[in-house]
């Protein structure tokens, strides 16, 4: 069952890559990023973590892997981020929110909707944190290594 799900995550990452037309040679790296991120999320939830924590940790992993791959392969980091985080998107929660709202269960709907928004926010903030760390490292290296190049 777990193998089947890992295959599904691989399929999602590669398909998102095809849909957003990333260079074909990078589809392999993209699928690795997707699978690692999803496994982190799956295992965090299995060990009793909340969905928000799981998605946060997984999306930090996505950001870190994407920035490292971008440095090694000299490609924009966006290419690796987008297919990496799509399998983490809380589609199920969003659907349940809509269902509650339509059936008139507004309190359940708002509660589930809040959870959906926070989970989405955790994904966004995970990418934010990892990208910020890499930008800080880059700026620090620039400051310390070059005197003549200056800023712009």
């Amino acid at each position: 069952m777990l193998v089947l799900k890992i295959m599904a995550v691989l399929l999602i990452s590669v398909s998102v890559g095809i849909l957003y037309r990333i260079p074909r040679k990078l589809l392999v790296y993209v699928s690795i990023v997707g699978i690692v991120a999803w496994l982190i999320m799956y295992n965090t939830m299995r060990l009793g973590g909340t969905e928000i924590l799981a998605d946060f940790l997984a999306s930090i992993a996505v950001g870190v892997m994407a920035e490292i791959l971008a440095r090694i392969l000299k490609k924009p980091a966006t290419i690796f981020i987008i297919p990496g985080f799509i399998p983490l998107v809380p589609g199920g929660d969003a659907y349940i929110t809509m269902l509650h709202m339509v059936e008139g269960h507004y309190i359940d709907g708002v509660a589930k909707g809040m959870q959906t928004i926070l989970t989405g926010g955790a994904i966004a903030f995970g990418i934010f944190v990892s990208s910020t760390i890499f930008r800080l490292v880059k700026n620090y290296n620039l400051e310390s290594s070059c005197q003549d190049a200056g800023k712009n």
Binding site: K5, A8, V16, R21, T78, I79, G91, A94, I127
Partner: protein
């Protein structure tokens, strides 16, 4: 070999326009235009990019300066082109490429049909839907239905992309069609649940590029672009949700 001011502006302007049209981050576009113009011999470059336009001022060695503005109406997502323009600018900066060749290559990039054609993207969209249904522990026929629903979403995108200047219509219609697929499946075969079909079907509609670019623009300090892209992502999600909700509400 002196490159004239007009040529510098034109080269950097086209590069910026191609990158913006295909969904690059704001700071990447500005840096690429700066690097390209300076590699051609400009003494100072100022660039300003917002999601709907590119502004560029280049000053040459004699102190003359020229400003161009390029308005971008139609935006698509093609990360392959961004990566190619990126590569081109690196080669230009490293003096591994002449100006004339760069211009020809750039025009080639903006015209060529890169990546995958619409049938593979339909299959890819379907695969996203089917695989998401697998993650939701769906049974076999629900997975097949999610595959078909997600493929239909892509087909709608193919049709709607021909009608220019309408935003969020594709997402709204996509949400409606996906919900319709799920509800129809459930009413034809009541033992199949619509949940996995709808969840799988709306997955290709997630605004991945808008979300990522919004975050990266905000980090880079381009607050204007970051906010407008964040709003784009939020409105897209609302459009999808409204499409689904309207169909679900009709059933009840």
């Amino acid at each position: 070999m002196a490159i004239s001011l007009e040529q510098m502006v034109s080269l950097a302007g086209i590069a910026g326009e191609v990158m913006l049209k295909n969904g690059a981050e704001t700071y990447r576009i500005e840096e690429t235009m700066d690097h390209m113009a300076k590699a051609c011999g400009a003494s100072a470059v100022e660039s300003f990019v917002i999601p709907t336009g590119v502004f560029l001022t280049v000053t040459d060695g004699d102190g003359r300066s020229l400003t161009v503005m390029r308005r971008v109406h139609q935006r698509t997502i093609n990360l392959d082109r961004i990566s190619k323009v990126n590569e081109l600018s690196r080669r230009l900066v490293d003096q591994r490429l002449e100006y004339e060749n760069a211009k020809v290559i750039l025009q080639g990039i903006s015209k060529e049909r890169t990546g995958f054609s619409w049938l593979p993207s339909m299959l890819a969209s379907g695969a996203i839907g089917g695989a998401t249904a697998v993650l939701q522990d769906a049974v076999f026929f629900e997975i097949v239905a999610a595959f078909v629903a997600a493929m239909l979403v892509r087909y709608i995108a193919h049709i709607v992309s021909k009608l220019r200047g309408v935003q969020f219509t594709f997402e709204f219609l996509g949400g409606m069609v996906v919900a319709l697929c799920g509800v129809l499946l459930h009413s034809l075969w009541p033992y199949l649940r619509p949940d996995a079909v709808i969840i799988g079907g709306i997955m290709p509609l997630v605004p991945g590029v808008a979300i990522t670019n919004a975050i990266r623009d905000v980090i880079a300090g381009d607050l204007l672009s970051g906010l407008s892209r964040g709003l784009e992502a939020a409105l897209t999600s609302v459009a999808v949700a409204m499409g689904v909700v309207i169909i679900l509400a009709l059933r009840l």
